[in-house]
Symmetry: C2
Subunit: 473 residues, 2 copies
Amino acid sequence: MSAGALSGAGPFGGLGIAELARRIRSGESTAVEITEQALAAAHSVGAELNCFVTVDDDGARRAAQLADAELVSGLDRGPLHGIPVGVKDMIATSGLATTMGSRHFAGDTPAQDASVVSSLRTAGAVILGKTQTHEFAYGPTSDRAATGAARNPQDLSRMTGGSSGGSAAAVAAGLIPLALGTDTGGSVRIPAALCGAVGLRPTQGSIDMIGAFPLSPTMDVVGPIAGSVADTALGWWALSTRPESSGAHWSLWTAPRIPEPGRVRGVRIGQPVCDLVDRVDQSARGGQQAAADALAASGAALTELALPELDETSGPYYDIQSAEAYEIHEERVRRAPELFDPEVLERLEAAARVPGWRYVRALDVRRRLRAGMLDKLAAVDIVLMPTVPLEAPVINQRDLDPNTGWSGVREALLALTSPWSLLGFPAISVPVPMGGETMLGSVQLVAKPGQEHLLLDTAALLENSLPGSPKWG
Amino acid sequence: MSAGALSGAGPFGGLGIAELARRIRSGESTAVEITEQALAAAHSVGAELNCFVTVDDDGARRAAQLADAELVSGLDRGPLHGIPVGVKDMIATSGLATTMGSRHFAGDTPAQDASVVSSLRTAGAVILGKTQTHEFAYGPTSDRAATGAARNPQDLSRMTGGSSGGSAAAVAAGLIPLALGTDTGGSVRIPAALCGAVGLRPTQGSIDMIGAFPLSPTMDVVGPIAGSVADTALGWWALSTRPESSGAHWSLWTAPRIPEPGRVRGVRIGQPVCDLVDRVDQSARGGQQAAADALAASGAALTELALPELDETSGPYYDIQSAEAYEIHEERVRRAPELFDPEVLERLEAAARVPGWRYVRALDVRRRLRAGMLDKLAAVDIVLMPTVPLEAPVINQRDLDPNTGWSGVREALLALTSPWSLLGFPAISVPVPMGGETMLGSVQLVAKPGQEHLLLDTAALLENSLPGSPKWG
């Protein structure tokens, strides 16, 4: 294992939410102290990584003071109470600029919180600031944005991946213990994998998307990025749980569920056999092998599973994403094309040319593939495969050696995550402390729709089983 | 009132299903005798109208013999038992050629019945033959088909309208008492209006479409065409009711409901005010006024209702239809374009150019318009408006006087029916025995989704109230 540069350089590297929550309640620390540490780190290390678009010093301090006061008064909102979190700049925050990474929304300040932000605040979280995003989330590299490229904390010359690059970089650097991303084709999982964090894409349709700026509404979903599976589960709990009023205050209506590897001993794990997973590099193969070995040693039942369906997903994925994305941006492209990053504009112009009949057909193919995949996966509980087929490229790199089998960086980064986006299945990327020479590896676990509990339990089993795995307490 | 040429020339002009059913049971007639009359008419008058693609002499005779034998044995399948019906050649019939009006399917014989045909047979109906359709149902004129143009029984030089032109012509000429059509943008209602029959478009999604060849699957629906509202209601009953097995034989699981004007005295009827209905000719205005007067005299409460939403439906209608239609025909256009009628091919080639983002937006607009229309129509029970804005043009006519406000025949014919197709509301066209000089007029009644009972009762009220209305008994 090797993680260089600014990995875990911030105050929360290796320090998980449960321990922070304990310190706040024991008096060893306060929400204000923890928030001040996060703010300082965001301004220093965060600036080097260019992972924040906006750091909300005043708002975060006020929220932390309120959190401390509530605890003193006896109101405990649960494990996220007083914990600083980052919110991707695609997600609306009341009174706090939300730019979508674009000059089109420079300085734009929403009047209302997105539903997921509302849930986070109800859980007591302190919104520290807004994290960098690939412009309009329309790219997996996070090096095209009005405020410039985000930098990978493991190697500042490399891209974070994206589009939730700022969230993944901030978490992997230990600047905040938890951040929100959005995932359309892999925008939570890809940067989590490249930066060395855990990232969960929940089941399509399970998260209230009001206030999350769309890219491709039939595939968009908000997901958490954190330093451990347990903290990711806390983030998912807050996102997926409705705030409800009970007397004097609002609260989330269910308690969080801590992932427990003991529940999934003997879990049936399928490793896909198909062309896509044949085209991954040695680092991805190494990560996959290490994860498989660790899970098998912990009692999981591993099998191979022919999944040629995965090789058919790319066409419908791009057709659906293109038609939906251009529909959202059509007026902006028409009225003020010069405000887009040129590469994003070019991508939109290509998206405009996807014909309607291909979109209609892609929806049909998606329905067929989804039904077929549910049949196929009756034989296993979880699918295990790489999250990305290669290590983080350098910032602005677009071309790849044709021998890799990929036409370019964008196609390669999205290749293994977008199939599950198209199908709407929940998936999580977990760091694997081996793989490349200088970078953390990663693997992706996938479950059937609605089976986030099983997915998180299995991810916790993997995390616990990996030799040399960081145990963030 | 005036209805010339071959209107009602066949054995069932002015003769309804209830009376036929009575005669079969009283011994005054038999299913075989009635079927022989229908076959003779189909070969004589039907040939002049070019309204059948295939007349199934052998199959119809066998079915009629079986129907008579069943009655002798005590098995009575209800009012359609032994009644000859026509099936549009877009709807699969087991062992009977089904061509979609196209050389692409010349001689093609399905192995299975469409679900609606299965239901008709379970109700005891005798499938007399397959009726002419505009090629692939892709046009409202029924003058482009592999077997040539259908002719309007009121005036053989005029078009039937379409795409269910053969069904409407055969019914209006009295060759059969009931026929099935399919309605995407108005393909049941338009030819019913132009030929002088009743035609019902059921609620989108309420009819099992298996075996009905698609044009635009999110707007396609099968509907009945008949000589009276009561007979249309019987057709709708058979289409919308599942066959179920009860012991020795299959039957439809509910009994038919006879439309009863007495149930809807005082019904609230809105007459839309919008640009579309301002652009209708004197015949349409006359029909609308006559229908409004008749309904008011029968105790209905008529009001004006501003519905500018109707003026916004055309763009999304064509975008959705185009994308979905081309998706269905893409392979045929690529492999054998020469087998299409040139006008249909040109229409498909234009449809191929609708961009995906416009389809996505049209789906959004449809959702919004549908919700808005449900709100608007809270104030009334039924909408009353013309079915078509002009009388039947002559066969192959495409241009219209620009003073009409319409760009051409296709746009004009679809203008008043396609809004309800887009929105998915049920609608019925009812003949009005005044309007033009030589042709029957018509009006369209529209109800909220799922309210076919109310719609049919109100249509029966109108039919009973019209002076000089044909009372088919």
